[in-house]
């Protein structure tokens, strides 16, 4: 096995007609890895606060997400209950054990049945917290951890994500900055999910159909101080 490694690396070096890169090149690689240069960031990924959040909302809707705006975290249980009722879904929710969603005032909605933990495939609806929303493309960034099992993002047919307005960034690069801030440079959780809308496939006659293997519905509850019942 280590023979194969030496063989492959040897052939690469032969093809590059050198043994090691020059010291200049090595320094360039080092600096690139420790302080990654950014490429061209689309202008739309660099908007100021209100415009940024508006762009996130419109891009997420374009990707077939639904969005509810709530005034504050205390209003989330009611928003969840309303959504479930409107979509004719059972009042049962599998919640990530993360304080951001587990510690919401669920007791204000006693008819909602709340359980927490990973999903075994039997849950119809899940609720998980996001680490960031990326306005450029209406993308959610979710990270795995003991309090945020990845199965909740994929097995239930309906996935609800909690996002706060201050988590909405412009482009992907700012989302990477948030990752590095939380986990450290070069350190990652097992899974980072960038999710842009619900699951879909166009593999049969190029006809787009929703709900291929992951959730059929992706609903975002955005805590931004603007309570609306808008879907």
């Amino acid at each position: 096995m280590s023979d194969a490694r030496a063989q492959v690396l040897g052939t690469i070096r032969k093809s590059l007609r050198r043994d090691q890169p020059s010291s200049n090149q090595q320094a360039e690689i080092e600096s690139r890895l420790t302080d990654p240069p950014r490429g061209p960031i689309p202008a739309r990924g660099q908007l100021a606060s209100t415009a940024r959040i508006e762009l996130f909302v419109s891009m997420a809707k374009e990707a077939a997400c639904t969005i509810a705006h709530v005034a504050d975290r205390a209003a989330v249980p009611a928003a969840v209950a309303e959504y479930l009722a409107r979509e004719n879904l059972p009042a049962k929710l599998r919640v990530a054990p993360d304080a951001a969603v587990a510690d919401l005032p669920w007791s204000t909605r006693p008819l909602l049945e709340i359980t927490s933990g990973r999903s075994d495939g039997s849950d119809e609806v899940s609720l998980t917290p996001a680490l960031a929303g990326i306005a450029e493309t209406g993308t959610l960034m979710l990270t795995s951890g003991p309090e945020r099992p990845t199965t909740l993002n994929f097995l239930p047919e309906t996935h609800i994500v909690l996002l706060t307005a201050d988590q909405v960034v412009g482009g992907m690069e700012e989302a990477w900055a948030k990752l590095r801030e939380r986990y450290g440079r070069g350190v990652m959780p097992r899974t980072v999910n960038l999710i842009t809308g619900p699951s879909r496939s166009a593999d049969i006659e190029q006809t787009l159909q929703m709900g291929a293997h992951g959730p059929r519905r992706l609903h975002i509850i955005l805590v931004d101080g603007q309570a609306t019942a808008e879907p």
């Binding site: 492959v8 690689i29 202008a43 795995s144 992907m172 990652m188």
Partner: protein
């Protein structure tokens, strides 16, 4: 490796042209993909600058490929994963089998990977008593039909829904044979239900990688269905099967390429799921695989790096060159006879299988240049096809008639007085042959061309004659 019929391209293409069902299916490529990419590119003013930057990133990586692969490996190991270097398809297959056997795996789920097709993994696993299940809808369909993919990102694009229904009825024999399967939603629902149980039961999940990130030791997959995520989250073991050139330095570099990938492929702003995986589950995680293996495949790429085909290693498998290719539109992917089709297939297949097997493919081009004009990584595909044609000629692999004709032409072209004489006579003869209509219905030695269209006849004088007259005036 997948059994190749690339040497038989002419017959394959002939058959494809006569296949009415296939021709209808190919209509979807011509319209949908092309329009959607154009709309997505037009909507992002920075698109062309991003393409330049994406090209530069990959050029930098290829120039330092050994260093970035070593950095990637050390980060994978630091995160508790393993990297297995494999020189060829057989080494990769054996490595995967060894990992599967280490947990007595019976059932393996598969995310979509072209490398899996390249090393013909499914047949191999099956022969060794392990059941592989493709989970991308298109890949699942073609697995049931025992076919290779006919497109990089839409593997079942050659099929209509009746053929899919037929495959499902033949495979899902436990279901009511009278069930309705005439509409696409019913087919999707059946595949979803069937594959859900496979996801939950699998012992090992194998995905590909769109990127390997040296900075973090992560692999990134991009999908729309979410099948790759279920494949890599639920089983005990996650195997990433990827070729050397997938490595990029940092997350920033991945971001740049992601911005051109989905737009070039499907015209989406971003695919639904872009997932970054790093190592196995952490100690207190509630789910995720216990083991993380990266099977790193060379299979000729390290040699390609030193050849005039290096630029083709920038490819990110978006399929834009297929979608814009008049030859692909006419014959589809299977005619190319192996796993990679279209212009990138015409360049990669001879590199990976040899020009003896696949020398015909670079001839399947009109050199219209659309492939290069839409390639997000700006790979000079027409130039590379020309390189292969040169090699085919210099290795005496082109047919004798073509060689003789070229040699005859070269003999004449190197002797200007003779050239002027012959072309002058030729132009006059063709004008006479064209008659009043000015068109030729058939031509000696060019029956293949005139069988489908008339040739406009020259007007009597050659370019050189006209030029000379102009000079006198």
């Amino acid at each position: 490796m997948q059994h190749a019929t690339s040497h038989n391209f002419k017959n394959n293409a002939q058959r494809a042209l006569g296949d009415a069902q296939l021709q209808r299916a190919l209509g979807h490529v011509k319209k949908n993909f092309v329009e959607r990419r154009a709309a997505a590119a037009a909507r992002l003013p920075e698109f062309e600058a991003l393409r330049d930057h994406a090209r530069d990133i990959k050029n930098h990586v290829l120039e330092n490929l050994d260093v970035y692969l070593e950095r990637f490996e050390s980060k994978v190991v630091a995160n508790g994963g393993q990297v297995h270097w494999c020189e060829d398809a057989e080494a990769a297959r054996q490595t995967i089998l060894r990992i599967c056997r280490s947990v007595n795996a019976k059932l393996v789920t598969r995310g979509k990977t072209m490398i899996g097709e390249e090393i013909d993994l499914n047949d191999f696993l099956e022969a060794n008593g392990i059941t592989p299940v493709e989970t991308d809808l298109g890949e699942y369909i073609i697995q049931l039909r025992h076919e290779p993919p006919s497109h990089l990102i839409a593997p079942a694009i050659h099929l209509n829904k009746e053929q899919v229904a037929e495959a499902f009825r033949a495979a899902h024999t436990d279901l009511d044979p009278k069930r309705a399967l005439s509409e696409a939603p019913a087919l999707l629902a059946e595949a979803r239900a069937r594959l859900r149980s496979r996801f939950l039961a699998a012992d090992v999940g194998i995905t590909g990688a769109n990127f390997l990130v040296a900075e973090t030791g992560s692999s990134i997959i991009v999908t729309n269905e979410g099948n790759g995520d279920l494949t890599q989250t639920l089983p005990k073991i996650h195997i990433v099967l990827a070729s050397l050139e997938k490595v990029v330095p940092t997350l920033e570099d991945a971001a740049t390429i992601l911005r051109v990938l989905a737009r070039s492929a499907t015209g989406q702003e971003m695919s639904v799921y872009t997932t970054i995986s790093t190592g196995p589950r952490r100690a207190d995680d509630l789910d995720g695989p216990e083991q993380y293996h990266v099977v790193l495949l060379d299979n000729g790429r390290s040699r390609m790096l030193g050849s005039e085909f290096r630029d083709a290693l920038r490819c990110i498998r978006c399929g834009a060159c297929l979608n814009h290719c008049p030859i692909y539109h006419a014959v589809g992917g299977h005619a190319y006879g192996w796993v990679y089709s279209g212009p990138i297939g015409a360049v990669l297949t001879p590199s990976l299988l040899g020009v003896e097997e696949a020398g015909h493919l670079p001839n399947a081009s009109t050199f219209c240049g659309r492939c290069e004009s839409v390639c997000p990584m700006r790979i000079p595909l027409p130039k590379m096809m020309r390189h292969w044609r040169e090699q085919e000629f210099s290795r005496h692999l082109s047919p004798p008639a073509a060689r003789w004709a070229l040699q005859l032409w070269a003999f004449v072209a190197k002797r200007p007085p003779l050239y002027r004489l012959v072309t002058g006579i030729g132009a006059r003869l063709l004008k006479m042959g064209g008659g009043r209509a000015g068109r030729l219905r058939s031509l000696p030695f060019a029956g293949g061309w005139t069988a489908h269209r008339d040739m406009p006849a020259p007007e009597g004088r050659t370019f050189q004659q006209l030029w000379a007259e102009r000079g006198r005036r």
